[in-house]
Each structure stands twice: as structure tokens, then as C-alpha cells.
Point group: C2
Chain length 234, copies 2
DNA sequence: TTCCGTCATTTTGTATGCAATTCGAAGAAA
DNA sequence: TTTCTTCGAATTGCATACAAAATGACGGAA
């Protein structure tokens, strides 16, 4: 299992961080779940101090929401945040693609191909398949050797899981494996523009197909407005 | 003084975070400075617990380096990290420009114009002028209403100060005020491509002019070579 | 019944204490 | 002098204690 950069450090706080992050990404903890410090600490055999540190980290990564005096919960991004997030993600992944296009080494190509194989193999199981799809993108980012780029792509990919969990259509095969394969081909061939276009399409299809409600979070007033009209109360 | 988004929350930990961040950006704490938990806490009248939390936050933002068992210090990014950072920054600021081009409201235009005036006025004082130049970019990002984009641009701009502090040429007027003015004009006119090009040039000039050593960190031998020649020891 | 206020319980906010590690200086050996 | 060793002081890692705030349940008044 590929360890990502935030795993560095042997501290137990990092371990807590890793466990929680994993649980969130696996949707074992779904958006909105409460994250009480002491029950987590009790379960993991550490004090609240360490749990707190992990929660602070997670909140900085946008995976957890920290409400003062009211505890932490798994983040529940709005739909608009979701769309914006994918916009940001596109900007960064575009840089990834431009950086890598035509510059992949033999080893990198092999690693990516192997990863795609793994995706193919896991196609049937939902949870692993989602995780692998995300890891393909972080793997690409990793290869740029650009630390800030890696970090941000990582974060955004992670948060994308949250968005998909909240608003994604069940049937949207998150990242079609074949699209990854096509992208890899273009990258190898150094066809930068085509690769960028492919990536754009790839991400775009998630936002438009999977991320329905075409616009605006309907807030309570908007929702009620419809009913009001129906009742002649407008 | 514009408060940025990380100021949210009334907690005292945030206050510590804010103080340290400010000190770092003002270069009152320069890259490499040790940041001992208890002396900071003592000075600020809080316990180590809160200082620790602030340091964790700062480390996630890349402003502080956290070495296990060895304490925290103000981050000292390498030159390569610096170049990569500006690459990433460009990718994101491009999105900012594309989002804003031709869509600025009257109020936003006024705010930006006012900011540019302030930059002009502060041109002589070094510290405020550097800060204002950065704030112009975060102000733009803010106007996109894209939360992740705002957060990342903020972080990147902050870290840019570190890079400039370490590797910047003294004389490079970090961000020429006139370039900001030109950019604003293009944004108002909705000339997206020209605006993007301007932004690219703006950031590029920082990396190539201010961020000298065109490539590779000069190692100890290169550095000594210059002195050797001067002493007739070559 | 419904609404509101009070109090017990739970959970967070912060300080502090103790063990473990690192750092640095003084001193011994080469 | 230089280098190694050892020991004490300073600093971090982590747990725990206690205060403050929120949550929720119970009971009384409308």
C-alpha cells in the first residue's frame, strides 16, 4: 500500500491522523459524523492530546470541520464548494500533466501501468476501486517531484471522495479505468495538449455527470419557496 | 488591516497562530529561527499546549518545519522548492485571473484600486510594501469565492515571502505596483488572455530575476570559487 | 400538550506534571 | 590542541487534571 507524504514522522499523533483519514476516505466515517476526542482516544489507546492534534491536522486538510466548543465532525462540503474544488483540482492537475508529458521514465510508466492493472482488477469492489482511482491521480502528482503540487493534489483528491460520497451518483463509475489508460498513453507520447484535454474531460465528467444538481445549494428558503407557491403562500 | 481567512475562530490558539505567522511574514522571525514552545508560550501568556497547536497549524501551511524531538523552526525551503512553488502558484493564479476576468463588480474594482494606491503610498517602506504586494494577490483570490483556491493562494503567497527572504535579490522590487495596475486594467476589460499573460510575466519575473541561481543550488565549492578568485587562490 | 427553565452529564479548552530525548559544556584521554 | 565521554540543563512527547461550555433530560407553568 502506497504511503502518502503525510505519513512521515513516527509520532503517534501521525498514526491517529492516518487512521482517521483512512476511515474517512473509506466512508467508514461518513460526512457529518461526530468525532469526540475522548472516545476516539479511548478506542485508539492514546490521550485526547494526540487526538486533538490529529483533528487539527485533518481540519487543515479540509477533511474535518472544527467547531469551537462543539467538537469536530467529518466535513460536509457544500455542493458549491464541491464544484469549486474540482475547478481548483483541474488547474493543478493540468500542471501535473504539463510537467509530466513526454518526460515519464521507464520506471514511472511501469508503475502507472501496474496501478491501472490494479484498478482493473479491483473494478468490482466498490471501496478499493474508489481509493485506487484517487491514488492514480496522487501517483501522477508524486512524479512531478513538486512538493506543494503533490500536497495540494493529495488534499483535493481526498476531499473529492467526500464530495462524491455526499453528492455523487451511485452509478457513476468514478474514474473510468480506460480514461486513465488513455491519459497515460498521451503522456508517454508527449502529446501534451491532448493529455490536458483528456484530464479536463475526465474531471469535468465527474462534476457534470456525477455531481448533479446543476447549480446552487438550495438553501432552506429556496426549498420552502417552492412549497409556498404551491400552497399559495408566496 | 485585512484579516485573512485563517483568523477565524476566537480561540486563543488561533491568536498565537496569527502572531507567529505575522512575525514570520514580517521577517521578524527569519527562516531557520528556532521556535521553542515554552519561551513562546511564556512571552504570549499561554501554555505550551496552545503554542503546540499553533505550530502544528503553521507546519501544515509550510511556514514552519516540525522536526520530531527537535522542535520547530521557521521553514527554510530549498531553492528548488521555491521554483516549484512559483510554478504551482502560477497554475492557481491563472485560475484566479480566468475566473475574475470581465466579471469584477464595481465594489471589487474600487477595493483593488484602493489597494494599489496603498501599495503606491507605501512604496518606500520595505516591510509594509512587501506585505501589501502579497495581499494584492490574496485579495484577488478572495474575490473568486472559491474557498480551496483562496486557501492555497494564501498559503503560497505566504510561503513566497519566505522564499524571497532566503533567495531574493535585495533590489528586485518584488511586485512592481504598475504591473498590478496593468493586470487590473486587463481584468476590468475582460481581456482574459492578456491578463493571464501579464500574471505569468509578473510571477515569472520573480523567479527568474529575483530568485537567481538560474538552476541548481550553488554548492559549497561554487560559492568558495568566487572567494578564491578574489584572493588569488584559484 | 407545548414551551421554557434548571440542573446533571458529557465534552471541549487549557494548564501542568512527568518521562524521554536532545543539546551543550566541562573535563578526560590521546 | 583535538577529540571523545559524561553528565546536567533545557526541551519535547504525552497524559492527566480541572475549569468552562454545551447538551439533554426532567419537571413545572401556561
Amino acid at each position: 500500500m502506497a504511503k502518502n507524504e503525510s505519513d512521515r514522522g513516527s509520532g503517534r499523533a501521525q498514526a491517529v491522523h492516518r487512521v482517521l483519514k483512512r476511515a474517512i476516505l473509506d466512508q467508514a466515517l461518513s460526512p457529518g459524523s461526530k468525532l469526540p476526542e475522548d472516545s476516539i482516544g479511548e478506542r485508539l489507546g492514546v490521550s485526547r492530546t494526540l487526538v486533538r492534534e490529529a483533528l487539527v491536522r485533518l481540519s487543515q486538510e479540509g477533511l474535518v470541520e472544527l467547531r469551537p466548543n462543539k467538537g469536530a465532525m467529518v466535513a460536509r462540503p457544500t455542493l458549491e464548494e464541491g464544484r469549486n474544488l474540482f475547478l481548483t483540482r483541474m488547474a493543478l492537475e493540468r500542471l501535473v500533466v504539463e510537467t509530466l508529458s513526454g518526460k515519464l521514465t521507464r520506471e514511472q510508466i511501469d508503475a502507472l501501468a501496474a496501478h491501472i492493472e490494479a484498478e482493473e482488477a479491483a473494478k468490482k469492489e466498490r471501496a478499493p476501486s474508489i481509493r485506487l482511482a484517487g491514488e492514480f491521480h496522487t501517483l501522477l502528482a508524486q512524479m512531478t517531484n513538486n512538493i506543494s503540487l503533490m500536497r495540494y493534489v493529495n488534499e483535493l483528491v481526498a476531499r473529492s471522495s467526500l464530495i462524491l460520497a455526499l453528492y455523487g451518483r451511485p452509478h457513476s463509475s468514478e474514474c473510468a479505468v480506460s480514461e486513465h489508460r488513455d491519459l497515460l498513453d498521451k503522456l508517454i507520447a508527449g502529446k501534451t495538449e491532448e493529455a490536458v484535454a483528456l484530464m479536463a474531460h475526465h474531471l469535468d465528467s465527474v462534476t457534470t455527470r456525477a455531481l448533479l444538481p446543476p447549480d446552487g445549494d438550495r438553501n432552506i428558503k429556496e426549498v420552502l419557496a417552492a412549497y409556498a407557491v404551491a400552497e399559495g403562500l408566496a
